[in-house]
Symmetry: C2
Subunit: 146 residues, 2 copies
DNA sequence: TCGCAATCATTCGAATTCTGAACGATGCGG
DNA sequence: CCGCATCGTTCAGAATTCGAATGATTGCGA
């Protein structure tokens, strides 16, 4: 008989740990008036992976209508400008403003702080290995790998 | 200047990856009529970490009222029996039934399958290291460490 | 022993988050 | 020019979770 513990499976652990970490990240982001998904959108814009709202929705695995409200909020904060694509006026292009870059940097800093808490006491090589393996798993799951 | 990418922070990656993995786990669980939290509850019962609903709620970082509906569902499936604690009749203790054990085993198997998909192609030592590090991070975050 | 505050489970209304089905505007092939 | 697909938007509602109110029970202090 196989007596694997549920709590030691990656599936369960990544799920629960992900929820806890997101919660903590979200708490830090609250100071900036943002939620994790807002920051995820900013990161996509900075990476240049997508600019139209529909493409962003696909990258984020999220309904296009959700991108609308995320963009609304970000525009309200001056982090993002909405521009009609002149070559296809159906498309709304989202452009990162200078404030948007600052905001993203601040939020990335918050994430880095949280990282420091999470990995406190761990050996550097362990953390590097962790990042590396999570990167490959993420990449294989359709998420950005680096 | 520090040009850390948001997507490479553990905070963000654990969050997004956790969401994706939970989604996939949830899809497999649907065949058994359960959600991840139901299975988490069953795992707590099997581990014997808590039996009263309130203690379970604390362990799961969840409102007591949510445990009620989770337990309702599990009782409905015959996976769990509700018994009044004879020494404190305010307390409802949840007891795993034989079916509950089977169900948990099946769900743990589903998680293990998912693990295999996630770690396919990775070296065994990498996976072991991943489990180990995630275990310590989880333990430090108030989650079961093994 | 009586009464009162605390504890536990439960119910229920509400907040949050997200999706999916419309709809209008725009682009494109014939 | 017309039908049809695409994109953004709106909006109703599904899903999940919490928090406050309630009732039953307990334990404690006077």
């Amino acid at each position: 008989m196989n007596d694997v513990k549920l709590t030691s499976t990656l599936a369960f652990r990544l799920g629960t740990l992900g929820a806890v970490v997101t919660e903590r990240f979200s708490a830090r982001l609250a100071a900036h008036g943002l939620k994790p998904k807002h920051v995820g959108l900013l990161a996509i814009l900075e990476a240049g992976t997508a600019t139209s709202q529909l493409d962003i929705a696909k990258l984020m695995n999220v309904a296009p209508s959700l991108v609308v409200s995320l963009a609304d909020r970000l525009e309200e904060l001056g982090a993002v400008r909405r521009e009609r694509d002149p070559f296809d006026r159906r498309r709304q292009t989202l452009a990162l403003t200078a404030e948007g870059r600052e905001l993203l940097a601040a939020c990335t800093g918050a994430a880095a702080e949280l990282d420091a808490e999470l990995t406190d006491g761990l050996r550097l090589e362990e953390v590097k290995a962790l990042r590396s393996v999570l990167g490959t798993i993420a990449g294989r799951s359709g998420l950005p790998a680096d």
